[in-house]
C-alpha cells in the first residue's frame, strides 16, 4: 500500500477523540484496585480492633502519610510514563526523600531505645507476613494499572511496569495499615518498603513482556 493511501485511510472520517479517557481509566483502576484491597483486608485479614485507639498516636498518621505520599508520587510517575515524550520529573526524587526520611526516623528511635529493645522495634510481631500481605493486597491494583498502561503508550516499558508496581504496592500498604498493628518507624521503613518493592519487581519484570505495542 502507498503511504499516501494510508494517510487518506487514517484521516477519512476521523472522529473527535476524548482526551479525558486516560484519566478516567486511571481513576477507575485506582478506585477498583483500592476497593478490592479493602475488601480483602476487611474480609480475609480483619481490621485492626485497636484501630480507633491507634489513631490518637502521632506515629499512626506518620505511617498513613508515608504510604499516601509514596502512592501519590508513584501514581504521578505511572501517569507520566504512559504518555510518550514526558519526563518523569521529581517523582523519583520525592520517593527517595520519603524513604530516607522514614529511615532517619527509624535510626533515631533505634538510637534512643535500649539495646535489648532494638530487635523488637525492627521485627515487631508480624515481620514475616507483612511484606507478602502488602504484595497480595497490591496485586489486583497492579493488574488494573498494567491493563490501563497497555491501552496507552508507554515507551519505557520496564520503568512503566516498575512504577505501576510501586504505586500499587504503596496503595496496598496504605490499605494494609487498617489491619496492621505495627507503628515502629524501623518496622515501617523495613517491611512496608519491602512489601512495596515486591510488586515493583514483579511490575519491572512484566513491563517489557506485557506492555509492548
Amino acid at each position: 500500500m502507498k503511504t499516501e493511501d494510508l494517510v487518506s485511510l487514517l484521516s477519512t472520517g476521523a472522529e473527535p477523540v476524548d482526551l479525558r479517557l486516560p484519566s478516567r481509566r486511571w481513576l477507575l483502576a485506582l478506585a477498583g484496585g483500592a476497593l478490592i484491597a479493602f475488601l480483602l483486608t476487611a474480609g480475609l485479614l480483619k481490621l485492626n480492633p485497636a484501630l480507633w485507639h491507634a489513631t490518637s498516636q502521632p506515629m499512626f498518621w506518620v505511617r498513613e502519610s508515608y504510604c499516601m505520599v509514596l502512592g501519590v508520587l508513584g501514581f504521578i510517575a505511572v501517569v507520566r510514563l504512559a504518555r510518550p515524550g514526558l519526563r518523569l520529573g521529581l517523582a523519583p526524587v520525592g520517593i527517595a526523600v520519603a524513604v530516607i526520611a522514614m529511615w532517619v526516623l527509624a535510626l533515631m528511635t533505634l538510637a534512643a531505645a535500649s539495646p535489648q529493645d532494638r530487635a523488637a522495634l525492627i521485627l515487631g510481631h508480624t515481620a514475616g507476613a507483612c511484606p507478602f500481605l502488602i504484595a497480595l493486597l497490591a496485586a489486583p491494583l497492579l493488574a488494573a494499572l498494567l491493563a490501563v498502561m497497555r491501552s496507552l503508550a508507554p515507551t519505557r516499558l520496564r520503568w512503566a511496569g516498575a512504577a505501576s508496581g510501586f504505586a500499587a504496592g504503596s496503595v496496598g500498604a496504605l490499605v494494609y495499615t487498617l489491619h496492621c498493628p505495627e507503628l515502629a518507624p524501623a518496622f515501617i521503613g523495613t517491611w512496608y518498603l519491602f512489601g512495596m518493592l515486591i510488586p515493583t519487581a514483579i511490575g519491572a519484570w512484566l513491563g517489557p513482556r506485557l506492555l509492548r505495542w
Partner: protein, 179 residues
C-alpha cells in the same frame, strides 16, 4: 515553527477535523520518512514499512497526547520506541551506524517522494472479521458516513466506530508481526 504548526493541526484533528488531520499526517509523513532514512541507512527497504507502522501508531495512540504537552517530543518518543522495537525484533543492532542520540531530531530535515510499503494492507484487511473490515472499508476507504455504514452493514453506529477503532489496532498488530 514546526512545533506550533503541527500542534495546532493535531489539536484540530483531535477535535474531529478530518481535513486538518490529513494535512497533519501528510506533514508528519515527510518528517518521519527522512528521519527513518537517516536511521535505517542499512535497511532502506524497511523505511516505508516502518513509516506506515509509525503513522498507524500515531493514529491508534493519539488519545495519549495531552493538549498541554509539546507535540514534537511526543512524536519523537513514539518514533524512537518503534525504531528500537523494530531493531530489537530483527536482532540486527548492527544496522545502527551510530547510537540513537538525542540531537538527531525527527523534525530536522525533510525528504519528499511518495513510496509504497512491502506489505499489502488490502490483503491484511481481508483477514479481519467483518465487524472490523466492513467499517474500515466503508468509512475509511470509501469515505461513507458512520450513519450510512450502519445502515449498509446492519450494525449500530457505535459498533461501526468501535469496529474502525479495533480494526486499525488489529491491522497495526498484524503489520508488526509480519516484520
Amino acid at each position: 515553527m514546526i512545533e506550533e504548526r503541527l500542534r495546532s493541526l493535531m489539536l484540530q484533528s483531535l477535535a474531529g477535523d478530518a481535513a486538518a488531520y490529513r494535512i497533519f499526517l501528510d506533514e508528519l509523513t515527510t518528517h518521519l520518512r527522512s528521519y527513518l532514512r537517516r536511521r535505517l541507512g542499512g535497511l532502506p527497504e524497511e523505511v516505508e514499512d516502518l513509516l506506515q507502522e509509525l503513522l498507524l501508531a500515531v493514529h491508534n495512540k493519539r488519545h495519549t497526547y495531552g493538549p498541554k504537552q509539546p507535540l514534537t517530543p511526543w512524536v519523537q518518543a513514539i518514533a524512537r520506541y518503534k525504531l528500537v522495537d523494530l531493531l530489537r525484533r530483527r536482532s540486527r543492532s548492527d544496522v545502527l551506524t551510530d547510537p540513537l542520540v538525542e540531537d538527531d531530531q525527527v523534525f530536522a530535515r525533510t525528504a519528499n517522494d511518495a513510496a509504497e510499503a512491502q506489505y499489502d494492507v488490502a490483503k491484511l484487511l481481508r483477514g479481519l472479521p467483518d465487524r472490523q473490515r466492513l467499517p474500515i472499508l466503508y468509512v475509511k476507504i470509501e469515505g461513507a458516513s458512520v450513519t450510512d455504514t450502519a445502515i449498509r452493514t446492519g450494525m449500530s453506529e457505535s459498533a461501526v466506530k468501535v469496529g474502525v477503532h479495533r480494526g486499525l489496532k488489529a491491522l497495526a498488530e498484524r503489520i508488526r508481526s509480519i516484520e
